[in-house]
Amino acid sequence: MNLTLKVWRQAGPESEGGIHTYQVDGVSEDMSFLEMLDILNEQLNEQGEEPVAFDHDCREGICGSCSLMIDGYAHGPEVTTTCQLHMRSFSDGQTITIEPWRAEAFPVVKDLVVDRGAFDRIIQAGGYISANTGSAPEANSVPAQRDKAMRAFNVATCIGCGACVAACPNGSASLFLGAKITHLGELPQGQPERNQRVLGMTAQHDEEGFGGCTNIGECTAACPKGIPLDVISQLNKDYRTALRAKS
């Protein structure tokens, strides 16, 4: 396949960026999207140009490093991570526009790489449980209800990629936040800090500059892990409960 790529290039956080056009020929449709970008970078290297910076790590859909807005879709036209997207989803001769995640809270570091540290700080504001150190407790000593455990497991699959933010017209991180709140809130271990967790994480979410949710649902449609919208309902409910408990 021969492709025309329109790629966002930006030298650094403070530099002016812009779209650059590149031609990549001889792409196999069995390549992943990132392998296609590797080819582009080899080309650029040979020409003595700076390669395009993009985030990736596991390349097997589990770490959440890869990002990219591909032709207007977070992680591209299929619902998966960019590393798991294959070139057979595109056609020969196609022009593909590649941009970084766009959000005030995700500043561009370089080219297509953005700083998702805001997610870390949201986690630090309550997305954990406190446990005593020492030997691990007996696994079965705390009974967990099966359906709750299943729900917790399902939403715990969130890999923190940020596609929900990238896809949201309001730049909200509510799906991510809801996934974390639901994950810990459904388990017995998450109960003691449940109220302070939702208050702390929501406040940090807003402080980071993410927008408010209007329940449009573009987040869940883009989420590579299929986190459902009901986690946002859970987030809102827990928030209300916590507010009432506080007053």
Binding site: G72, E99, E207, N215, D230
Partner: protein, 246 residues
């Protein structure tokens, strides 16, 4: 989780970013949901009252009069009406103010726009809440000037009590084509607003914790949109078709 480390100095500064404001996005959305539900109750009652037009002038005018006597002697004459007006006005201020704050926030949350964006799976109505809300607000102001405070009979040009009884004003107004057009456009905006707003409010209030509850809330939005906007629109359409006449 996927993160890119900043330079240490920047990381420190970001760490120090501690949340302070209690006026969170969720709190603002909660006030929008509650005020929105008050509006839904109101438009349902209002539409029911309007449909009395089909029962003739006595019934319609009697209804308007009845509203003024509601709650007597417990409340003074028009007491109920004034309480309702106060609640609605307060709701409107809160609803619109929150909408503006959240709208500005959303704008700031994405300062650099995408060159290409596509929607995957979201309703038209969900993208029209803000402009549709403004349409409703403008209509509301016009509507109150027209039928309540101003009480203008657009057809005869008379105002105040000379404009005629409520039934006369209504029928003669809808004999004016552009007034009917404004009204119908507003009903489209209302239908869109109710379609997304009903489900959105349920979600904001934390009532849609399962896929089934979510489907129910979305269906309720569809039903309310059709029933309310359709119910309101029946009156001008009936005047147009001569089903309701002077």
């Amino acid at each position: 989780m996927a993160t890119t480390t900043r330079s240490p100095a920047k990381a420190k500064a970001a760490q120090a970013k501690k949340a302070k404001s209690p006026r969170t996005t969720i709190l603002l959305k909660l006030t929008m949901a509650v005020s929105g539900l008050i509006f839904i109750g109101y438009v349902l009652a209002h539409m029911y009252g309007n449909l009395k037009a089909f029962a003739g002038p006595e019934s319609f005018n009697g209804y308007a009069e009845h509203l003024r006597e509601l709650g007597e002697p417990l409340l003074p004459h028009e007491g109920f009406l004034w309480i309702a007006r106060a609640v609605l006005l307060l709701s409107l201020v809160v609803h619109v103010a929150s909408a503006i704050v959240l709208w500005r926030r959303a704008g700031k949350a994405r300062p650099v726009k995408y060159v290409v964006t596509k929607n995957r799976n979201s309703s038209f109505s969900s993208h029209w809440m803000r402009w549709g809300g403004i349409t409703i607000l403008l209509f509301l102001i016009w509507h109150l000037l027209n039928f309540s405070f101003g009480k203008v009979n657009v057809k005869t040009g008379e105002t105040g009590s000379a404009a005629g009884d409520p039934y006369t004003v209504m029928v003669q107004s809808f004999e004016v084509w552009w007034l009917t057009a404004i009204y119908l456009v507003a009903m489209v905006a209302l239908a869109l607003h109710l379609h997304h707003g009903t489900w959105s409010a349920a979600q904001t209030l934390g009532l849609t914790g399962t896929a089934k509850a979510r489907r129910t809330a979305k269906a309720a939005g569809g039903v309310l949109a059709v029933v309310v906007a359709g119910g309101f629109a029946l009156i001008p359409l009936s005047v147009l078709l001569g089903i309701i006449e002077k």
